[in-house]
């Protein structure tokens, strides 16, 4: 009896094992990536949280307190830098998104080389862009020289301040220069994946090119636009070196302010800096949450519209 039961039992056991392996396969494949991101990014955030709450300091164990957050938020410079960050990120994201939709439509039927040329800034390090824009737009830059040569201005004093300026013109120009090609690239990829039959159908039903764009193409592009602008917003909002080098000294963005606090010679300001950094991350996470909420809503309105 036992000899009959034994192999059957083994078979059942091996089947359960095989099923378990089959079901956990995607998780096993994701495990290395998830654990590296989890340990580095998640772990780093957690350690930052502990430090900001005073669980331990550089000097030894401490005690739980919200002192760091109180100190961080009571500083008016935090609020002005937060405002500045939002201003830059919102304006730059909105402008580059709108311009990218236009550029993508423009490039849709353009040849490969034109498309490639429009993506030139994509693989360029931000610091190179900063250098180029400084040399182009500074009061002694190339454009000021051209204006002077043309007699439009008399001295470099007449040239408007476009870098390290209060209105952050240089900063915005840099972000537009760098991010428009990025969003355009994504939108072009989405456009190429669209079935042209939808637009042909709309035209056949009597839509003008403009109506067709507004009622058919743009809604189909919407998921791509949303995710591209999410990435760009997140990037600009947390960008450090660009506002550090191109922004005005008197109006810092949040990341620059966080960095200044962190590298302050007064080491007791560290928990405050970390609390600020966490606030920065929390805002980005909140933006992702809003994005998800918007896309979930959009998806429930029109389900199965995208076919990728």
């Amino acid at each position: 009896m036992v000899q009959v039961v034994q192999p059957e039992l083994r078979r059942v056991r091996s089947r359960i094992w095989a099923e378990w392996m089959e079901r956990s396969r995607p998780y096993l494949l994701l495990l290395p990536a998830l654990s590296i991101i989890g340990v580095l990014f998640g772990g780093g955030l957690l350690l930052a949280l502990f430090q900001s709450l005073g669980f331990f300091t550089l000097l030894g164990p401490g005690e739980l307190s919200l002192e760091a957050y109180r100190a961080a938020y009571s500083n008016s410079e935090f609020w002005t830098s937060l405002l500045q960050s939002f201003y830059i990120a919102i304006v730059a994201t909105a402008l580059s998104t709108v311009l990218s939709v236009g550029l993508a439509m423009l490039l849709r039927s353009a040849n490969r080389w034109a498309t490639l040329a429009c993506q030139i800034t994509l693989p360029i390090p931000h610091l190179v862009g900063i250098a180029g824009i400084l040399m182009l737009l500074a009061p002694s830059g190339l454009i000021a020289r051209v204006f002077l040569a043309l007699g439009w201005i008399q001295t470099d004093q007449d040239f408007p301040l476009l870098v390290n300026d209060g209105a952050s013109i240089g900063l915005l120009i840099h972000f537009l220069w760098k991010e428009i090609p990025f969003i355009t690239l994504i939108l072009l990829a989405v456009l190429r994946g669209l079935n042209p039959a939808y637009e042909q159908q709309a035209r056949a039903l009597g839509a003008s090119p403009w109506q067709c764009f507004w009622n058919v193409t743009l809604p189909l592009l919407k998921p791509g636009i949303l995710s591209a602008s999410l990435i760009v917003f997140g990037f600009i909002f947390s960008s450090f070196e660009v506002p550090f080098l191109l922004g005005a000294i008197q109006s810092r963005t949040l990341p620059v302010y966080v960095y200044r606090a962190f590298t302050d010679t007064d080491l007791t300001r560290r928990p405050e800096a970390i609390a600020l950094g966490l606030t920065l991350s929390a805002i980005s996470i909140a933006v992702i949450a809003i994005y998800l909420w918007i896309t979930a809503n959009a998806r429930s309105q029109v389900s199965g519209k995208r076919n990728s």
């Binding site: 494949l29 994701l30 290395p32 990536a33 998830l34 590296i36 991101i37 989890g38 580095l40 990014f41 780093g44 957690l46 350690l47 930052a48 430090q51 550029l103 423009l106 034109a114 498309t115 040329a117 030139i120 800034t121 693989p123 390090p125 610091l127 190179v128 862009g129 250098a131 180029g132 824009i133 040399m135 182009l136 190339l142 220069w177 690239l185 990829a189 989405v190 190429r192 994946g193 998921p223 995710s227 591209a228 999410l230 990435i231 909002f237 947390s238 070196e241 080098l245 990341p255 560290r270 800096a273 970390i274 950094g277 966490l278 920065l280 991350s281 980005s284 992702i288 995208r306 990728s308």
Partner: protein
Amino acid sequence: MPRNALILLIILVLFLPFLPLLVWSVAQGWFFPQLIPQQWTLEHWQQLLSASSRIGEGVMQSLAIALTTTVLSLLVGIPAGRAMGLMEFPGKPVLKLFLLTPIIVSPLATLMGIQFVLIRLGLSGTLLGVVLVHLMPTIPYMTLVLASVFANFDVGYEIQARSLGASPIKVFSQVTLPLIAPGVAVGALFAFLISWNEFLLTFFVGGGSVFTLPMILFTLLQGGNNGLIAAVAITSIVPGLIFLFVASKALQNEAALGGLGSV
């Protein structure tokens, strides 16, 4: 015709910042308000190549870090991309979002949080430490690119190969890998470029002793040697340009980058 003229104008504007860089890199004492430098020189390039400038060392460090980062993110990203691109499983959207947070959320808090751990582990100020933190942005991008590569891959090829007698390892090396190779190349170039261009992570973890090209450029930009800045800037865009030309075909192709449109 006005359409093409508009495209041409946009291209010109996009290329504009490169113009002063190119001129400065070969100009000698290009003082305001000269429109064109009085004298041309190669001294910035000579300075760049001279051993004392440490820029050559920076190129080597940048290369070493970017290559190691690329290889590691490939090893991690291929299985992750397969799971994300080919499989449906509970919790997939949440895990995808989690994987992508490092490219959307500022790394500043994380960097400040782990700094003392890296110091204690002796990783702060080392190439290995820098590689480790560079994985934070490269793994998400790699996974994203490979997920769309796998989403366009027909698993029927693997089933076919198995039935013809290929073991799972042989299937991967002789069938799957050759078929996804173009997409893998794009992902690798992407990861290399992200690492090569990365500043903030290196700045925080490098501790002033790892000098990649962006670190050198950042330091130079706070000085005023425009000629050398321009030469270093031009040097650091070389891999990017190579990327653009090599990957131009793939950039046209929805398979490799369409994934970015559906984060």
